[in-house]
Symmetry: C2
Subunit: 173 residues, 2 copies
Amino acid sequence: MTEDSLKFPVIGSDALKATFRSHASGVAIITSHDDHGNPIGFTATSVTSLGSNPPLVSFNIARGSSSYPQLVVGREVALHALSAENLELAQRMAGPKENRFTQADYELVGKVPVFRTAASILIGKVRERFEVESNAVVILDIIRGTEPMRQERPLVYYQRGYLTATERLAENS
Amino acid sequence: MTEDSLKFPVIGSDALKATFRSHASGVAIITSHDDHGNPIGFTATSVTSLGSNPPLVSFNIARGSSSYPQLVVGREVALHALSAENLELAQRMAGPKENRFTQADYELVGKVPVFRTAASILIGKVRERFEVESNAVVILDIIRGTEPMRQERPLVYYQRGYLTATERLAENS
């Protein structure tokens, strides 16, 4: 057990990028509204649970993004977990802003646009934001959610593309 | 576009749990050491990038876990991204603490235990911790990493089990 046989030749941001290309993530859509009531939203691969008592969610966002100034504390937000059937929606919400809400496939819950085709939807509120360099961790309080659809094909992001995971290797014992 | 057709019957933590069962995540292992130099580590499904300039990573942890008091600011940490071939390692590092480091399959980098069979390994340091209720978001500065192995079968956690994702649906354009 020496460190001789292990090499770490890749430095800093190159190392981070290489590793995260090979780290799978689930795909979600975050939606909310701006100060004028216009819908905002984006595809996010950093959504994760931060404990269930109380129910909290975290996700990461660039502070320079146009959505970040709108995600003020107290703002209502919808979080959509996506299945493979939602691929087109994931791609659209990761694409040009002007195309994200042009199709009339969303409904409003209060002022928040919600895509009912998503596999599962949570409604929450921004609780806190932690700024770190040019990014931020946003914490949501989760209020309520849909009855999740039964589905077996999650949408996964990995090596710069969308996949689904269907080959079960082991159950959690 | 009314809210009448969308129902949100599931409340609070039940809603969160139901949704996150159906939200896929990549699987990673975090390792470090305690104040006496003993190895610590655990399987984590909340690891995500927090920007590449500077290179930062975040993950979530229960403040009540035995590892949390050891992950003090400045502590060196290794982050292992896992492929399907690392299933047994993921299971072991999620199991009983006394079995996690009994097999001599790790090497020490400084005082940090590193599993060289992992698909990709990053070395970093705890930069900051944000405590929220009974959990915390831990931020790492990434220093360097291995040359990631070429692999096409990421390890994914979904619906209480381990899967791999091999069915590519679309490339990111």
